[in-house]
């Protein structure tokens, strides 16, 4: 790479520089300002860790963070299970009645405006409560259900594309060697698609952690998620505490994304020789 850089035009270099600046400058600014000693967000007053200390002492934010993490963990896990099942059905069951409907439903949350998803789920929960009393009121349960619904779409898509690229003869070979459908799934298919499931889980986790709109529709009193708290705080004016919180979230998300990339890379390393012998 570095040896070819010399020959590249200045225009390309400038474009790359502009791109990086555009993407990362706001984040870098945010990180720097989270260490700002001044109480005013826009005025630089020297380096300090005090907003991080204040953040960890702020019970409201800490509670919301805990709620958010619980919701993200549970809904990512549920979405991973259900999304894997959906992806598996879509890519391995052949043609069946209602397949198009299922495929459409799986991809709908990807393109549906969040406001609509949130609103329709709220209406559903209200209707369900009046019909058979569950879920009673809105809170953590309803947020988890809502998040699972839209996250499983992402997992299903990731798993489905992984299954599509997976050599079907591997599954046939397992059957041929005496594996019944259940052991085939757990011994062959599941280990082979596990990287997709893990990255689907990580994706769901970050999506759930990040969601403001849908959560606002379906949450109840006392169950505010972290984005909801931040948003309400920001409306009263940005405090440096929020900068510190945002920095921590960026670190968390970066770690999750790097983990996903690492897992995918390792999987590819195993796979490249397998396909090269194919011809």
């Amino acid at each position: 790479m570095s040896s070819t850089t010399k020959g590249q035009s200045k225009f390309l270099l400038a474009s790359a520089g502009a791109g990086f600046l555009f993407l990362y400058a706001p984040i870098i600014a945010l990180i720097i300002y989270s260490f700002n000693a001044s109480k005013l967000v826009t005025v630089w007053g020297g380096w300090s860790f005090k907003w991080y200390v204040a953040l960890f002492q702020n019970e409201q934010i800490m509670n919301a963070a805990w709620v958010s993490l619980k919701i993200a963990f549970i809904s990512a896990t549920l979405a991973a299970v259900l999304g894997t099942m959906a992806g598996f059905v879509l890519s391995r069951m052949g043609l069946f009645k209602g397949k198009t409907l299922l495929a459409g439903w799986v991809t709908a949350p990807l393109v549906m405006p969040e406001v609509i998803t949130g609103l329709s789920l709220l209406l559903l929960f209200v209707a369900m409560e009046s019909l058979f009393g569950w879920p009673a009121g809105r809170g953590m349960t309803t947020i988890i259900i809502a998040h699972t619904t839209f996250c499983l779409a992402y997992v299903a898509v990731v798993v489905q594309s992984r299954l599509a690229s997976l050599d079907v003869t591997l599954e046939e070979a397992a059957m041929d060697l005496g594996a019944k459908p259940s052991s085939l799934f757990f011994l062959i298919t599941l280990p082979l698609i596990s990287p997709a499931i893990v990255s689907g889980w990580l994706l769901s986790f970050t999506l759930s952690l990040d969601d403001l709109v849908i959560a606002s529709f379906v949450s109840g009193p006392g169950n505010s998620t972290l984005p909801m708290v931040i948003f309400s705080k920001v409306r009263l004016g940005v405090t440096p505490e929020v900068n510190a919180l945002a920095t921590l979230m960026i670190v968390a998300v970066t770690v999750a994304v790097l983990a996903a990339v690492f897992i995918m890379r390792r999987q590819n390393k195993i796979e490249i020789p397998r396909h090269s012998c194919w011809r």
């Binding site: 046939e172 070979a173 041929d176 060697l177 594996a179 082979l192 397998r274």
Partner: protein, 385 residues
């Protein structure tokens, strides 16, 4: 059509020549349709114990579909398959006494060589100690013991092929299916592996069904070859028979090179037939009888190596039975042999191969030489279809 010159020897090694032998695998009028497309069209086939049967055909001939039906991955649209007398119609792949070696090898990438080979035995519930022993034995047989703990991606193509073979053999299936087993290997390795496969097959006494598009591979490996075209088996016979006595022009042209002349039957005796061929420009006498109507149009197939070629001036030669006059238009020197393209007086082109017996180049045939081609009555075959 009757073929009188098929060797008559009957032994236990060639059960298909005796009419009362019991087939081990019986395919009865099996048809497979995918929508409007008929992949396999009412195929009936008997395969005997310890055979190494090759299904030979081009792509789309239905050979792989037939193999997949034997394995149980596809269900026949109609007809049935019996293995060792048991109807396989409602038996899923995981319960069949059949194992398959896939063209892509289909080794489980997340398992070591050992675990790959042990997979089938473990599914059967074989005790761990026995699994260990049988895996070790079979890896020893394919000379891979030293790589038992490697993952498939750390192996070469040839090693992977042997792991796949070991994995499909370790359960000692009644029938082993091999889908293009040598397809991904380079030429030298192919030849070695061919003999290796034959050795293993004889050693273990397992019935093999091999699918291939490579006629040479089929010729060397097989006890019998089933030539497939458009979902139908067009000829089932021993390799030399398929080559020397093709039952129709498809088989003749698919296997090796052949010169085909069309002509009209002018004299039909009990054990010989004479054909007037304008393609060739003379009479062709064939020393086997055929069942045909008088004046029926037939094709005569002559292999390039069965033609004799000689430089001679035409006026000294007046016979017109089993001989053709022409001029060399192309020569390909191949070392051990040469291929000549000869343009006959009738305008047709004929291919002749001759071994290069002499080292001197003085009397070697060359471009534009006038030549006479001759052949014996027993070197040609009449094809009625």
């Amino acid at each position: 059509m009757s073929l009188s010159s098929v060797p008559e020897s009957i032994s236990s090694e060639t059960p298909w020549r005796t009419s009362d032998a019991t087939p081990y695998v019986k395919i009865e009028k099996v048809t497979k349709r995918f929508g409007d497309f008929t992949a396999v069209d009412s195929v009936s086939l008997d395969i005997y114990k310890n055979e190494l049967f090759c299904l030979l055909g081009g792509s789309g001939s239905g050979k792989s579909t037939l193999l997949r039906m034997l394995a149980g991955f596809e269900a026949p649209t109609s007809g049935r398959i019996l293995i060792d007398g048991v109807d396989m119609s409602h038996i899923p792949p995981w319960e069949r006494p059949v194992n398959m070696m896939f063209q892509s090898y289909a080794l489980f990438p997340h398992m070591s060589v050992e675990a790959n080979v042990a997979f089938g035995l473990k599914r059967e519930g074989v005790p761990a100690a026995q699994v260990k022993k049988r895996v070790a034995d079979i890896l020893d047989m394919v000379q891979l013991s030293h790589l038992a703990r490697r993952k498939p991606h750390m192996l070469s193509g040839g090693q992977r092929q042997r792991v796949a073979l070991a994995r499909s053999l370790v359960k000692q299936p009644k029938l082993l299916l091999l889908d293009e087993p040598l397809g991904a290997l380079d030429k030298k390795l192919r030849e070695e592996t061919q003999f290796e496969l034959m050795r293993i097959q004889e050693e273990l006494g397992i019935t093999f069904v091999v699918v291939t598009h490579d006629q040479e591979e089929a010729m060397t490996l097989a006890t019998r070859i089933g030539v497939m075209n458009n979902g139908v088996i067009v000829q089932t016979a021993e390799p030399h028979e398929v080559y020397e006595y093709p039952s129709n022009s498809f088989v003749a042209e698919f296997i090796g090179n052949v010169n085909l002349f069309s002509g009209v039957v002018v004299d039909d005796e009990r054990d010989s037939v004479t054909i007037q061929s304008d393609d060739m420009g003379g009479l062709i006498k064939v020393d086997h009888g055929i069942s045909c109507a008088p004046n029926q149009t037939v094709s005569v197939a002559i292999r390039p190596e069965k033609l004799r070629i000689a430089k001679q001036s035409f006026d000294l030669f007046d016979s017109n039975v089993n001989c053709a006059k022409g001029q060399i238009i192309d020569v390909a020197y191949m070392g051990s042999q040469s291929i000549y393209k000869v343009k006959l007086l009738s305008g047709n082109e004929v291919r002749v191969t001759q071994p290069n017996v002499s080292r001197s180049s003085e009397d070697r045939l060359t471009w534009d030489d006038h030549v006479i081609l001759t052949w014996d009555p027993d070197s040609s075959v009449v094809l009625t279809s």
